[in-house]
C-alpha cells in the first residue's frame, strides 16, 4: 500500500500548476478565490486557454481531440485547477453530451458537434428535469412526435443551468407514450435558436440567475439530431450518470474553500483571539479539515479501483454525499466566522471591481450568497437522499 502519487504524477501536477500560473486569467482567478459570481466570458476565457494548450477535453479520449488522461491524471488536473482558482469546467457540453455523442452518436454527429465543444465555441445545456420529473427522471412528459424528417417537440424543461447562454440543448423526450416509462424515451439534440423555444429565468434565493425554465412549443427538430435509436434514450442517460462522477467529490474546490475559511478565521477574533485559535471555532474547522482528508483518501481508493478496471460502482454515491456536505459546511463556517456581517446583502457589492461605499471587509461580502447558492449541492445530480437509496440498494443489498 502506498498513498503517494508516483513521481510521474507529481511531475504532471507541477506541469498543470505551472500552466495555471501562466495562463489562468488573473481576473478570473480573483473572482474564484474570493467567491465572486462568474459570468459567461469567465468560463469561456478559461476553456479557450485550455484549448490553446491542447487540454480542452481533459476527460476525452485522444481520438476525439481530448487529452487521453487516465482517471488519476484527470483527478490531479481537476484538483490543481480548483486549488489555483480556475472556474469549474461547464460540464453540460464537455462531460455530458460529448460523452453520449462519443459513445452513441454517429460519425456525422461526432464531427459536427464535438469540435465546437472542445474549442468553447458552442455552449450546451441539459434538458432532463421537468416540473414533474426531478429525481424521478423516467417520468419525463415532453413529447416528440415524428413528422416526416422532423420531430415536433412540445413540453417544458426546468432547472436548466446556464441555459441563457446556450446554443444547444440535449433533451430526454418521450417518443412512445404507451411503453413502460423507461422504454419510450429518446435523446434529442435541439438548436436553442429553433422557433418555439422560450427561456425564462428562475431566480434562486441568493439572487442569482443560474437556472431557467425552457419551454418547447411545436419545435421542429431534424431527425438526424436523434442520438442512437429511438426509444433507447434512457439507456444513454443512465450510461451518462455512471460517467459524470470522476470529480464528484470536489476535493480541490473544498481544499481551496478550506484555505479561504482559514484566512477569514485568522482575521476575525473572539475574546481577543483569532477565531483560528478559539477552542470552539477551531474545533469545527479541524473537524471539517479531517473529514476532507478522509474523503480525499476515499476518493483515491475509488479512482484506483477504477484504474484496475473494477467498475466505478455505487461508491461514487459516498463521494457525492460527503463532498457536498463538506462544501456546504465550509460556507456555513465562513458565514459563522464573519458574524453579523453575514447579514448585509447588497448584490452590487458582490461583483468584481465594485468601488462603492460598503462598510464590509472584502472577504465578508461573499460567504452569504455562496452559502445560499450551495444549498443546491445536496439536491442536484441525484439528491443526497437518492444517493442513500443507491447505497442501501446497490452496496448493502437492502
Amino acid at each position: 500500500m502506498d498513498l503517494n502519487f508516483t513521481t510521474e504524477d507529481q511531475a504532471f501536477r507541477e506541469e498543470v500548476r505551472s500552466f495555471l500560473r501562466d495562463h489562468l486569467p488573473s481576473e478570473v482567478r480573483h473572482k474564484v478565490l474570493n467567491g465572486l459570481p462568474l459570468e459567461r466570458d469567465d468560463y469561456l476565457a478559461w476553456q479557450h486557454a485550455l484549448h490553446a494548450r491542447g487540454w480542452g477535453g481533459p476527460s476525452w479520449p485522444a481520438e476525439f481531440g481530448g487529452t487521453g488522461w487516465t482517471a488519476v491524471e484527470q483527478y490531479i488536473f481537476d484538483e490543481a485547477c480548483a486549488e489555483a482558482g480556475a472556474p469549474r469546467l461547464v460540464p453540460f457540453g464537455l462531460k455530458m453530451v460529448a460523452t453520449v455523442i462519443m459513445a452513441f452518436g454517429n460519425k456525422t454527429q461526432q464531427e459536427r458537434f464535438l469540435p465546437p465543444i472542445l474549442a468553447g465555441t458552442e455552449w450546451w445545456c441539459q434538458g432532463y428535469s421537468e416540473p414533474g420529473a426531478g429525481s424521478d427522471l423516467a417520468s419525463v412528459k415532453t413529447r416528440a412526435v415524428r413528422d416526416g424528417d422532423h420531430y415536433v417537440v412540445n413540453g417544458q424543461k426546468t432547472w436548466t443551468t446556464l441555459g441563457q447562454y446556450a446554443d444547444w440543448i440535449f433533451c430526454l423526450v418521450r417518443t412512445d407514450a404507451d411503453a413502460k416509462p423507461q422504454r419510450g424515451i429518446s435523446f434529442l439534440l435541439i438548436d436553442m435558436k429553433s422557433p418555439g423555444i422560450t427561456v425564462r429565468p428562475i431566480i434562486t434565493m441568493d439572487g442569482s440567475h443560474e437556472v431557467n425554465e425552457v419551454w418547447l412549443e411545436d419545435v421542429r427538430v431534424p431527425v438526424e439530431n436523434l442520438i442512437g435509436e429511438e426509444n433507447r434514450g434512457w439507456t444513454y442517460a443512465k450510461f451518462l450518470l455512471g460517467h459524470e462522477r470522476t470529480n464528484i467529490a470536489g476535493i480541490g474546490t473544498a481544499k481551496r474553500e478550506l484555505a479561504r475559511l482559514k484566512r477569514i478565521a485568522a482575521s476575525e477574533t473572539r475574546h481577543g483571539l483569532p477565531l483560528l485559535e478559539d477552542p470552539l471555532f477551531s474545533a469545527e474547522v479541524a473537524r471539517v479539515e479531517i473529514e476532507l482528508m478522509a474523503l480525499e483518501i476515499t476518493n483515491l481508493r475509488v479512482l484506483s479501483a477504477e484504474a484496475e478496471n473494477k467498475a466505478p460502482g455505487p461508491e461514487a454515491s459516498i463521494l457525492k454525499i460527503k463532498g457536498s456536505e463538506i462544501q456546504q459546511r465550509l460556507l456555513e463556517l465562513m458565514t459563522e466566522a464573519i458574524g453579523p456581517h453575514a447579514l448585509p446583502f447588497d448584490r452590487d457589492a458582490m461583483t468584481a471591481g465594485y468601488q462603492g461605499d460598503y462598510p464590509l471587509d472584502a472577504y465578508a461580502r461573499t460567504p452569504t450568497w455562496q452559502y445560499l447558492n450551495l444549498r443546491k449541492l445536496t439536491i442536484y445530480g441525484g439528491s443526497n437522499e437518492i444517493q442513500r437509496n443507491i447505497i442501501s440498494q446497490m452496496i448493502l443489498g437492502l
Binding site: A294, R301, S304, I318, N389
Partner: protein, 372 residues
C-alpha cells in the same frame, strides 16, 4: 498510489480470519470472558503457533519483522472476533518497545518467550491525569546504587493481571525511561477489574519498587521511542476498530434483511436504509483514515505523525460511536440484550473510542495545530 495488498499480506489476513472464525465463536468468547483469568491460554498458544505473535519481532530475533500495514490487517481480523487476549499490548506495543529500545541481551531474554506465547507483557504507561498528553508522566524512577526505585500509579492498564511482565514508563534524571518489571516484584500491587468490553485491566501501584539497571530499556531519554510505540499502538487500534465496525455493520444488515415487522423485512424501511447508508459511509471514511494511520505510523517526523494519527482517531472514533449506537438501535429491543453479539460489539467500540485519547482529545490536539 496503490491501495492493494501483497499476496503475503492477503495470506496473513486469511490466516488470522480463519483462526478467529474457527476458534473464537461468540459462545467461546463468552466462556473466556467469564473464566477466572479472562483469557484463553489455548487461543494465545494458537496465535503463537500461527506466527502471529512474531509479527513485529525483528528477523534477527526470529520474527517476521512486519510493518504497520500487516499489523493493521491482523488487528482488523482479530477485531472481527472481538478478541480479548493481550495482542495489542503484548504482541504489538511491548514487542515494538523492546525491539526498538532493548539491548541484545534483553531482547534475547524476552522476545523469544514472547513470540512463543510463554511470556505476556502489558504496557503500563497511562496514568490518572495523562488523558492524551502522552508525556505527562508522574511515576518516578529514582537512581539508587546500581538500580532504581520506582514510585507511582499506572491507571487502567489492560491485561496487567494476565501479564508476566509490565513495561512501565517513568521519569528519570535525563527524561523518560521504560522499565521491564516482573509482576511479582516486591512493591507492585495490582487492583484488578473487568473492563466494560470484557477484557481485564488493573490499576498498578508502585511503591519503592527496586529494579536493577539491567531492567531499564535503552540509555538516555526514551521520549521519542515511547511516542513511536504509542503511535504504533494507536494505528493498530484503528485497525482493530475497522474489524469491529465491519462486523457491526454486517451483523446489522443481516438482521435488517431477516427481521420482519408489519409483514416486511425492516431493511425495506427507508428510514433504516438511510441510517445504514450513513453507517457504511462512516466505515469507509474510517477505513481510509486507518490506511493513512498505517502508512504514517513510522513517519520519523513525530509532530507530523501525531497530527495524522489524531486525524485518524477522530474519524475512527466518530465511526465507533455512530456505527455502534445505530447498530444497537436498528436491532431494537434485542440490541440492548447481553444475548446478542451486537451489544458486545457496541461495548468494544465504546472502549476503543476512549482508548489512547478520545475523539475530543484528538480533535483538541489537531485543532491546536491549525494556527501554527
Amino acid at each position: 498510489m496503490d491501495f492493494s495488498f501483497t499476496e503475503e499480506q492477503n495470506m496473513l489476513v486469511d490466516t488470522a480470519e480463519r483462526f478467529v472464525s474457527k476458534e473464537y465463536g461468540f459462545e467461546t468468547r463468552n466462556r473466556i470472558i467469564a473464566s477466572e483469568t479472562g483469557m484463553s491460554e489455548t487461543v494465545w498458544q494458537g496465535l503463537a503457533d500461527l506466527g502471529l505473535l512474531a509479527l513485529l519481532v525483528p528477523e534477527e530475533d526470529g520474527g517476521l519483522n512486519a510493518g504497520p500495514v500487516e499489523t493493521m490487517l491482523v488487528m482488523s481480523a482479530l477485531g472481527k472476533g472481538l478478541l480479548v487476549e493481550p495482542y495489542l499490548a503484548s504482541a504489538v506495543m511491548s514487542t515494538r518497545a523492546i525491539a526498538t529500545l532493548a539491548s541484545p541481551d534483553q531482547r534475547g531474554e524476552w522476545l523469544e518467550r514472547m513470540l512463543g506465547g510463554e511470556l505476556i507483557v502489558a504496557f503500563a504507561h497511562d496514568e490518572l491525569g495523562t488523558r492524551h498528553e502522552p508525556l505527562a508522566i508522574e511515576t518516578r524512577a529514582t537512581r539508587i546504587g546500581a538500580g532504581y526505585l520506582l514510585d507511582g500509579r499506572k491507571s487502567v492498564i489492560r491485561h496487567a493481571s494476565q501479564a508476566g511482565m509490565l513495561l512501565v514508563s517513568a521519569l528519570v534524571e535525563d527524561g523518560v525511561a521504560l522499565f521491564a518489571l516482573d509482576r511479582d516484584t516486591p512493591g507492585v500491587r495490582l487492583a484488578g477489574y473487568p473492563s466494560v468490553d470484557g477484557a481485564r485491566a488493573a490499576d498498578v501501584f508502585l511503591e519503592q519498587v527496586y529494579l536493577p539497571e539491567s531492567r531499564r530499556l535503552g540509555q538516555g531519554d526514551a521520549s521519542d521511542a515511547l511516542l513511536a510505540v504509542l503511535d504504533t499502538g494507536l494505528a493498530a487500534l484503528c485497525g482493530e476498530a475497522l474489524g469491529v465496525l465491519q462486523r457491526s455493520l454486517d451483523t446489522t444488515i443481516e438482521y435488517a434483511r431477516t427481521r420482519k415487522q408489519f409483514g416486511v423485512p425492516i431493511g425495506k424501511f427507508q428510514a433504516l436504509q438511510h441510517r445504514m447508508a450513513d453507517m457504511l459511509i462512516h466505515v469507509e471514511q474510517a477505513r481510509s483514515m486507518t490506511y493513512l494511520a498505517a502508512v504514517r505510523a513510522l513517519d520519523g517526523d513525530a509532530a507530523r505523525r501525531a497530527t495524522a494519527l489524531s486525524a485518524a482517531k477522530v474519524v475512527v472514533g466518530e465511526a465507533c460511536r455512530f456505527v455502534g449506537q445505530q447498530a444497537v438501535q436498528i436491532h431494537g429491543g434485542m440490541g440492548v440484550t447481553d444475548e446478542l453479539d451486537i451489544s458486545h460489539c457496541f461495548k468494544r467500540l465504546f472502549a476503543i473510542e476512549k482508548t489512547f485519547g478520545s475523539t475530543l482529545d484528538h480533535l483538541d490536539h489537531y485543532r491546536r495545530t491549525l494556527a501554527a
